[in-house]
Structures are given as C-alpha cells and as structure tokens.
Symmetry: C2
Subunit: 128 residues, 2 copies
DNA sequence: AGTAATATCAGTAACGATTACTAATTTTAT
DNA sequence: ATAAAATTAGTAATCGTTACTGATATTACT
C-alpha cells in the first residue's frame, strides 16, 4: 500500500492549488485534460478521494448534490450563492464554540461540525 | 396547478410525523407500503419534494449521500453519528448569531446557514 | 542498468439515489 | 354526471460516483 508518485495526482493537486473557487471533480477533469488529454475521469475521482483521505485537500458538500474540492485545508467557512451556485470562502471570526454549545447536555461525543452559509453573493445582488 | 388531495401524500406526511428519527425516501417507501402496498417509489420522492417545497417538511442533507426528511420544521440542529449513521435531534441554545458573524464584512446577502454536528452518539460510546 | 513487485492508470461497466416520462386513475369544480 | 386537471404506478433515464480489468508506470532490490 506504499504510495507511489503519479503525474496525474500531482497535476490534480496543482490545479486545485491554483484555484480559489472550489471545483467539482468534473471541472478538475476538464481542466487537467487540457494539459494531459488522456487522463481518465475515474483517475480524477480516485485521486481526489485519496488526496482528501491524506488530508491534503478537503471535500466540500454544500448541498448542491455535487462534491466540491478545496486545496486550502485550513479551517474556514464557505458561502454558496443560491443564484449563481458559486462557492466562496468567507473570512470571518471563529465560530468554533458552537461545537461546545451543541455538546452541552449531549449524551455522546461531538467531534466537529459542518457549516455553510447561503444567500445571494455580491455579484448577484448588483442591479443589472 | 391547484393542489389536489392525495391519500399517498397524506400517508407519507403522517408517517413522517410519527417518527422522531429522520427517515430517507427509501425508508418512507418501505413503511408506507406496509399499509398501501402498491404505492410507487416515484410517488414517494415526488411528494417528499412537494411537501418540502410547501414547507411542511424539511429536507436534510447530512453528507451521507442520502436525503433525510423531517416533519419537524421548527428550527433545530442535528447530530450525525459516524459509527451507526443515526441522525438525532439536538436540543441546544440558539446559534443563530453565526449568520450575523458570517455577514460582517461580507459583500452579498446571507439568507441562512446549514449546520450539523458529527461524532459518536451516546449508544456508540457505551462500552460493549 | 535490469528485473520483479505493486501502485496506478485508462477505459468502461456498474451502481445507487433521484428524476422524468406516460398512459391510466383520482380528485374536484361545474 | 361530466369534464378538466392533478396525481398516480410503473418504468426508463439521468447523474454523480465507484468498481473492475488488463495495461502501464513507479519504486526497491539486485
């Protein structure tokens, strides 16, 4: 099970790192294919899963039925625009304490939380 | 487009109301079929979607790849056990203010948030 | 460098959840 | 009772994702 180097995995990671939006597997596939035309969609999925298991990227589920991926693994929150579907990073004060709030009086052990915000993004609120 | 009464929809709603867990479409299907053997899975899906559009139930996406449904539409949060997969209601102090925190300095308009907590539930932490 | 072991690949088939289609049935207003 | 329209059962199709397979690439060891 020792990990071996792979050009495909490297390119997928590199592509994700140069994007500040949060591409889906299909978007990764389309783009990496520009430089490496015969990469397979299965390879993209396999490596995205592997990279997220390794903790090198984060898998984002924002309720739109498609997984998004983020090479920025530092803790931060996301905003999903209900108009255009974009997923944007939020710069905000920590809300980590909500895990403690939820844990108060709870029987089990809370390991963490998933939170995302939704609404209308800056672009979509602009008059046109 | 006027809504017409349907026994199927009524039974789906009634079933959801008598459950305090948060069944998936398939679980609804299995159970309603006990009383109404030739209901169709498509009918279950269609009515679950319709009911949630009407605001009579809530569709829950807790990252396990399957939608769960909740007849309790009052604002509350959920806990997902990573051991047994159960989805449980949390009774906790309001954390509504996180929407304001997220909105501070944000360009667009934040309409709301989705949050769920995960970890190990009371049952699964018990020694066995 | 050459070779063997094995991780990874491309390509494609399969999968599970959900949605769309269609002709038949129910509901509701007249 | 009748007609218009919503709803249904049943099934086919869709979509994102995962699994399979024989070929290729990477690494460890001579």
């Amino acid at each position: 099970m020792a990990l071996k180097h792979s050009k495909q995995r490297e390119m997928i990671k590199a592509f994700l790192m140069e994007r500040k939006d949060h591409p889906t597997a299909d978007v990764v596939y389309m783009n990496v294919r520009q430089k490496y035309p015969n990469i397979s969609l299965g390879t993209v999925y396999r490596n995205l899963t592997l990279l997220s298991e390794l903790g090198e990227i984060t898998r984002l589920r924002v309720g739109d039925g498609v997984d998004h991926f983020d090479a920025d693994t530092s803790p931060h929150y996301h905003f999903v625009c209900t108009e255009c579907g974009q997923v944007i990073d939020l710069e905000m004060e920590s809300i980590e304490k909500i895990t403690d709030i939820a844990g108060a009086g709870f029987d089990g052990r809370i390991a963490g939380h998933v939170t995302y915000f939704y609404g209308t993004c800056g672009n979509c609120t602009k008059p046109n």
